[in-house]
Amino acid sequence: MMVLRSESSPRYRILIVDDEELIVQAMKKYFGGLGYDVDTAFELEEAQALLANNCYDLVIADLRLTGVGGVEGLQIVSDVRQRYAGARVILLSAYGTAEIERESYQRGADAFLHKPKAMMEIAQVSVSLLENS
C-alpha cells in the first residue's frame, strides 16, 4: 500500500464539495484519517462562502451540484484560481465530457477525475499535487 503521508508532511487544509451527503461524509472521514483538516460544503454558495473566509491547500469538487445539467464545479475552479494562486483543485465528475474536461483545465484545475474513483486513487492524486506544490 502506498504511504500517503509521512510524519513530516505539513498539515494541509482541504475543502470537499459534493451534493451527495454520503460521499462527503466518506471523503471527510478518509481524508481526516490521513491527517488533513477537512471542511465540507454541499452547494456552490456554501463553498464560495467558505473560500471567502478560509485558506485551503486543496479543493476537491464535484462538477454537478444541482442535479441534471449543472456545472457548478467549473465555477469553483475559477473561484479557487482567483483567490489562491497556490491552491490545488481537483474536479470530479460522472458526466464529464471532453469539452468540460478541457474547460476545467483552462480555468485552472490541476486534475479532472472521472467517477467512479476509489478513495485511494483520489487521495493519491491529492497527495501528489500537494507534495509537489
Binding site: 454558495e45 464560495q48 462562502a49 473566509n53
Partner: protein
C-alpha cells in the same frame, strides 16, 4: 442530492440562533465602564459551517436572501431579548441591500418592536455591508422611514473597505462603528492610531458617535480611550452570549 438546502435549514424554526454582545460606555478614569447596549448577533446551527457569522452571511448574500434572513434574525433576536434596563440600547444588524430591496422591512421592524414593547428610541439599526447598496432610491427611502420610526442608524465596518465616506455624508448616521481591523492592535501600531484618531475627528465634525469594535486586550482599550472613543465592544469586555446569560452578566458588570 440533499433533500433540503442549507438555506431551507437556516430559515426553518430554530435555524438562526441569537446571541447578544454587550457594548460599554467608558466613564471617568478609574470608574468601571457602564452598559450602553447589546448588539444582537446571529449564528447558524451548531456544528455547521454557518456557526461562523462571516460564512453564514456570505452564503446568505450569495443566495440573495439577505432580506429574508435579516427579518428572521431581527425576529429571533427580539423574541429572545432578555429584560433590560429601559435605557439600554439594542443594536440590530440589517444589510443595506435588505433595506434597499425589501420595501416592507421598516413596517416589519415597526411591528416587531411593538410586539417586543421596545421603544424605537432605544434601537440602533446597524447597517452592514453597505458598500454596494446605499446609493439607491430604495435604500434612501428606507433610511427616511427608519428616521420617521425614531430609531438611530449606525454604519458598520468603517475602515474595512465596505463603508465609504460618501455614504457617511448621505446617511448621516448617529453612530460610526470602527471595524476591528483598524482597532485591534492600535496600541502598538502608529498607523492604526493615526487612522482611529482621524476617524474620531471626522465623526465629531459629522455629529456621529464612534463605537470601537474588536477590543481584545487592555492595551488597545487604554489606547482607544486616549484616542477619544468612549463606546467600546469586544471580547476583552464581554463575549457574545445567549439571552439567558445576559441578565446575570449585566448584573455582575454593574456590581464591579
Amino acid at each position: 442530492m440533499r433533500e433540503h438546502s442549507a438555506l431551507d435549514r437556516l430559515v426553518a424554526p430554530g435555524g438562526i440562533r441569537p446571541l447578544y454582545q454587550p457594548i460599554y460606555m467608558l466613564g471617568e478614569p478609574a470608574m468601571p465602564p457602564v452598559l450602553f447596549g447589546f448588539e444582537c448577533l446571529s449564528r447558524g446551527p451548531a456544528g455547521t459551517n454557518f456557526e461562523k457569522a462571516p460564512v453564514l452571511f456570505d452564503y446568505v448574500r450569495l443566495k440573495r436572501q439577505e432580506a429574508l434572513v435579516d427579518r428572521i434574525c431581527v425576529a429571533t433576536a427580539l423574541g429572545e431579548l432578555p429584560l433590560l434596563d429601559p435605557v439600554t440600547r439594542v443594536c440590530l444588524n440589517v444589510h443595506a441591500s435588505a433595506l434597499a430591496r425589501d420595501h416592507g422591512f421598516v413596517d416589519f421592524l415597526s411591528h416587531a418592536l411593538d410586539d417586543s414593547r421596545l421603544y424605537p428610541g432605544r434601537v440602533i439599526i446597524d447597517v452592514v455591508h453597505p458598500d454596494a447598496m446605499y446609493d439607491g432610491d430604495g435604500f434612501r427611502a428606507a433610511v427616511a422611514r427608519l428616521r420617521d420610526l425614531g430609531v438611530a442608524i449606525a454604519i458598520d465596518d468603517i475602515g474595512s473597505g465596505a463603508a465609504n465616506f460618501k455614504m457617511l455624508l448621505d446617511v448621516a448616521p448617529e453612530y460610526m462603528k470602527l471595524d476591528r481591523g483598524i482597532v485591534s492592535g492600535c496600541h502598538s501600531d502608529p498607523r492604526r492610531r493615526a487612522m482611529v484618531e482621524s476617524l474620531v475627528a471626522l465623526a465629531a465634525k459629522l455629529d456621529s458617535a464612534v463605537i470601537a469594535e474588536g477590543i481584545e486586550c487592555d492595551d488597545d482599550l487604554m489606547m482607544i480611550e486616549l484616542l477619544g472613543v468612549d463606546i467600546v465592544q469586544g471580547f476583552l469586555l464581554a463575549e457574545p452570549m445567549s439571552g439567558r446569560e445576559t441578565p446575570q452578566h449585566f448584573i455582575s458588570s454593574i456590581a464591579v
